[in-house]
Amino acid sequence: MYVAVKGGERAIDNAHAWLAEERRGDRDVPELSVAQIREQMTLAVNRVMAEGSLYDPDLSALAIKQARGDLIEAVFLIRAYRTTLPRFGATQPVDTGTMRCERRISATFKDAPGGQVLGPTFDYTHRLLDFALAAEGEGPAPASEAPARAGDVPHVAGFLGREGLIQPEPPVDGVPPDLTRQSMELPASRALRLQALARGDEGFLLGLAYSTQRGYARNHAFVGELRIGAVAVEMEIPELGFTIELGEVVLTECETVNQFTGSKTEPPQFTRGYGLVFGQTERKAIAMALVDRALRWKDLGEEDRGAPAQDEEFVLMHCDNIQATGFLEHIKLPHYVDFQSELELIRKLRREAGEGREAAE
C-alpha cells in the first residue's frame, strides 16, 4: 500500500523556524544590532540600497541582518518593501556639482579646481589581514581632519567641454520613464538604460565592464572623475509653489572620458560614460559608466562589434539580480509534471531508436 507524501504546510513552518534559529547563530555570541550593521558594514548597506533602489540605511541594515548577510536576498527584501510605498512625487534632479565631496579624484588631470581628495578608500591599503581587528578593544585613533573646502566642486568634464573637446550632453526635456512603473520597452532611451544599470547587479556590470576593457567593444575609458559625497534632495511642493530640501543622500558619481576618433556622424572628440549610484559604491559606478558608454554605440555612429556590453537587450534584460536569481533558483521548485513528460518522451525515442537499430541489423 502506498500513501502519497503530504505535509507541505508543516514542512514550510518548520523550515522557517529552523531558518530563524540559524540566522541567530550561537546564542553565546551577542546578537548583532541593526545599528552595528549600518555603521560597520556600511559598504554592504550601500550596495543593498543601490540595488534595492531605496535610500534607507536603517532598512538596508535590517534587511542584511534578516538575510543572514546574503546581499542579494537583502536587496530582494528592500525591493519587495519598496513597491508597497506610496509615491508622493518626484524630486528635482540632484546637482552633483554642489556635492560635499568626501572623495574626489580625477585620473585625467593631475590637479583641477576642487583638488584631488582620496577620502576613505581601500586603494592604497596593503591587503594584509589585520589581526588587530580580531582582538576586541580600542578602535582606531580618529583620523586627522582638514577644514572643509568651501564652494562647489566643478566637474572635470566641464573643462573639456569649454574647449569643445568632449561630446556635449544636451538636456533632455520631459519626465524620464520609470522602469518600476512601466514594463521595459526596447529599444530603451538612455534615461531608462541608466536607471536599469543603476539598480543592476554589481557583479554582472563589473564583468561586462571588464569585458570592454579586454577588447569586447573596447572604449578606451579614463576615469575623468569619481566623486563621492552628500547632495541635497529637493522637491517642489505644489501647495507651496517653491522648492524645499528634504534631506541628503550620499551618491557616487563616475564620469569616464573615452577616446573617440570620430565616426560618419560624429567628429573626433572625447565621449562620456556615466555612472551614478546610491552610497559609496565606486566599483559599481565605474562599471556602470563603462557599460553605459558601450551601449551608446548607436548614438555615436560607432560600429556594432557584436560584443555583449554593446547589446542593449542582452544587458538590460539580464542585469537585474532579483529577476535573475528568482528565475535561476526557481528550477529547484517541483517540476515533476514536466519531467514526467520528458521521461516518457525519452523512453519513447529510445524505444524507437532501438527498434530502428534492430530492423537495420
Binding site: 500500500m1 502506498y2 500513501v3 502519497a4 503530504k6 505535509g7 507541505g8 504546510e9 514542512a11 514550510i12 530582494f76 525591493r79 519587495a80 519598496r82 513597491t83 508597497t84 506610496p86 518600476t180 512603473r181 512601466q182 514594463s183 521595459m184 520597452e185 526596447l186 529599444p187 537587450e313 534584460m317 532579483i322 529577476q323 536569481t325 528568482g326 528565475f327 535561476l328 533558483e329 526557481h330 528550477i331 521548485l333 517541483p334 517540476h335 515533476y336 509534471v337 514536466d338 514526467q340 513528460s341 520528458e342 521521461l343 516518457e344 518522451l345 519513447k348 525515442l349 524507437e352
Partner: protein, 290 residues
Amino acid sequence: MSEYNFAYLDEETKRMIRRAILKALAIPGYQVPFASREMPMPYGWGTGGVQVTAACLIPEDRLKVIDQGADDTTNAVSIRQFFEKTAGVAVTEETARASLIQTRHRIPEMPLTEDQILVYQVPIPEPLRFLEPRETETRKMHALEEYGLMHVKLYEDISRHGTISTAYAYPVRVEGRYVMDPSPIPKFDNPKLSDCPAIQLFGAGREQRIYALPPYSRVVSLDFEDHPFEASKADADCALCGAGDSYLDEVIVDDAGGRIFVCSDTDHCRARRAAGHLGAEGAPYEEADA
C-alpha cells in the same frame, strides 16, 4: 497583515493589471506588456500568476491553488496562505467548489465551468523565445504572423527523431492567429485549453506579460497533417484510484527502483477514491486524508 490592501496590491496597481487582462481577453493569445511589481515572493515562484489572481480576487471568491496538480506542494501551500492572509478569502482543494484556481504546470482533470477563472503561472511567455532570443525580433514575428521558424523546428524534430520532441509547454495557435505558449503544462493537458467554458489567464511576472484565452476559444496544438498532435501520458493506471485517463506522476518507491504511478491531480484522485474507486496500491478512502 492589515497594513496591506485587500489581496496585497494597491488598487491602482490592480487597475493597471485589470486593464492588461481586459486587453488580453480582447486579443486572445497576444502577450500584453504590464508593469509587473516586485512581489514578496521571488520571480519564478509565480509572481505573474499571483498578480493576476490579486487583480481578479473579490472577497466572495473561493480560491484553489495547485502546483504540479497538487494542492499540498510547498509553493501551492505558500501562495494559498499568502491570499488567506492578505485577502482573507475562502480556500478549497476541491476543483468544483473553487471560483478561482491558480495553477502551475497543470490543468485540473475535472472540466471547468463558466463560473471559474483559471490563472496560470508562466515562466517564459514567448513561444518563439528558444528559437529567437530577442524580444524585439519575436514581437515583430508575431505582428507579421511569421511562424515559419516554429514549423521548421517541429519539422526538424520529426526528421531527426520521427516525432515532435516537445513534451510540455507545447505551442498552440489561438483562434487561427497568435501562436501561444500554454505555460509548461504537459502536452496531455493541451486539448483542455480549447473550447473551455472558464476564463483562462496567463501571468508572467518577471517577463512582464499577461495573455488570455476567453471562454470557448479555439486553441489548436501545432502539428502536421501526417504527424498529428497526440496528447500523451504514462501508459499505466493510477495506483491509488485506478484512473486510466488522468495524468500520472511516477513515484520511485524502493531502493531497487520499483515505481508506481499516481494521479498528479490530487483532488481528482481524492474524489475518485471517495467515490469508491480503488487502485492496485490504494487504501480505501477515509475522510481524514482529504
